[in-house]
Amino acid sequence: MLLIRCPWCGLRSESEFHCNGEVRPIRPHSSSLTDQQSVQHTCDRLNFKGWIEEDWCHSKGCGEWFRLNRHTVTHEIDQD
């Protein structure tokens, strides 16, 4: 089990958290996007071996959203 540091609650078990995937750019207003850019925003996702920055939520705890770096092969977490 991974231990993840919630900014409010400290180190807690991974099962209390929800991962929302990679940190993604905020979607620009549709009027400023071409169709292709809009598709790219929806469908394009990172998929690689290495460190990735993700959004996590302490969903079964305080509900805080925060970011952390996780390695997609070793599952190591770097929160510094």
Binding site: M1, C19, V39, T42, C43, L46, N47, F48, R70
Partner: protein, 420 residues
């Protein structure tokens, strides 16, 4: 090229008299040649089935299947061996049911016993939401003429007597559904059966080859690939590399709309026969079957949204899967889990696979398999057609890569795929 020795009762009896010294190698692994008509990356079920159908249906002979490790050692050997076609969308139902049909005659076709046991798959439903969803799937399945029917709570209990008694259930069993043609098969036999049949057509199966790069000619077309054993010339490359398709496609210079997740499964110690159907419970996110060896094979869910290329597992998932299992079957609480494994599976944005041509001429993709084991025959058949004719097979046209460009999704996420 040498025809296969036929496996039969007579051959077995003959073998018994000769101390079983008479058996040929099941498939050949000749040295790598410098040039091929088609190179398939990935020696799993899909890669080998594709090679087989290319040779059998399309008469292409100079084919190589390149495998980084050993054949069937990736996701073909890391699944729960369940075969079914109970999907939601018309196109998916047709495709996956074709696969079930091909499985039904595969042992005979390949002369290799794949031990396909059509023991039924029963879904156990605990909430009104899943009852409603399943009824919708049932209607769609029946519209396509595929067997699927709803069960009452009593019927579910009759089929699975080992279920927890009503008074012990946290959530009552409201009902269920059943596909009676669904079942399980021996995964290694499918890989080896296809390998043997492909090898008889002269397909070169090469293990322990690592692809280091994909070469393209000046006009952008595929011209060959670099491996740790040297350059191979070819104009057609297909990738069927399980969780690694993204990396292969990157070598060719395109990005596939895929993410790789970890999915894990466990087996218990062997026990006496207790469960004669495949059980799936979408509400508790657990599915299991009783293997021929007597082990309970239990599958869990994926770590939603967490990209992972690790083939191990995670304790948190084991924990929640076992909790779900014991809620349905408290009797199993004293069973020991013996082994656990994980596979790297790919997920496209809509939960459906990709069997397709790509913007690069001569580069073909079979990817995004989530439950790809059940799709091996149909996936091989349609990818072979796509490679040979340079156009999609009618059954897999719905899985073309450019559906993402127009957001023409074939949504199967949230149906059999518990992710959204």
């Amino acid at each position: 090229m040498k025809p296969n020795q036929r496996y039969s009762l007579a051959a077995l009896a003959q073998g018994a008299l000769r101390n079983h010294q008479n058996w040929d190698r099941a498939w050949q692994s000749p040295p790598l040649k410098p040039q091929y008509d088609v190179v398939i990356i990935g020696g799993g079920g899909h890669g080998l089935a594709t090679a087989y159908y290319l040779a059998k249906n399309h008469g292409i002979r100079k084919i190589a299947v390149l495998e980084k490790n050993w054949i069937g050692g990736g996701n073909s050997g890391r699944n729960t061996a369940i075969i079914r076609s109970n999907y939601l969308r018309q196109d998916s139902i047709r495709f996956f049911d074709k696969s079930v049909q091909l499985y039904e005659t595969l042992s005979r076709e390949l002369n290799y016993n794949i031990m396909f046991s059509q023991r039924s798959e029963v879904d156990i439903l605990l909430t009104n939401t899943s009852m409603r969803n399943m009824r919708r799937r049932c209607f769609n399945m029946n519209l396509q003429g595929v067997d699927f029917k709803m069960l009452s709570a009593d019927e579910v209990r009759q089929r699975i007597p080992v279920l927890a008694p009503m008074k012990e259930c946290r959530l009552p069993i409201l009902g269920g559904s059943v596909q009676s043609r669904a079942g399980i098969a021996r995964h290694d036999a499918i890989v080896w059966g296809y390998a043997r049949a492909a090898s008889a057509y002269g397909v070169d199966i090469i293990q322990n080859v690592v692809i280091t790069g994909i070469r393209r000619a000046e006009n952008g077309e595929i011209s060959g690939l670099n491996t740790d054993r040297g350059l191979i010339k070819t104009n057609k490359i297909a990738t069927a590399a399980g969780g690694e398709n993204s990396s292969v496609a990157e070598m060719a210079g395109i990005r596939l709309p895929l993410q790789t997740f970890n999915l894990q499964a466990f087996v218990s110690e062997p026990i006496k026969p207790v469960l004669d159907v495949v059980v799936n419970c979408p509400d508790l996110q657990v599915y299991l079957s009783h293997s021929d060896k007597g082990e309970l094979v239990v599958g869990g869910i994926t770590d939603a949204q967490q990209i992972s290329f690790r083939r191990g597992g995670k304790l948190a998932v084991l924990d929640s899967t076992v909790a779900g299992l014991l809620e349905l079957f408290p009797t199993f609480r004293r069973l020991k889990l013996m082994r656990q494994w994980g596979g790297a599976l790919e997920f496209a944005r809509d939960g459906s696979p990709i069997i397709s041509l790509t913007p690069i001429k001569g580069f073909y993709v079979s990817a995004g398999w989530w439950g790809g084991f059940k799709a091996i025959p149909a996936g091989g058949l349609t990818l072979a057609h796509t490679i040979a004719k340079d156009e999609p097979h009618p059954l897999s046209a719905c899985y073309r890569l450019n559906r993402f460009d127009t957001m023409n999704f074939l949504m199967e996420s949230g149906t059999t795929v518990p992710i959204h």
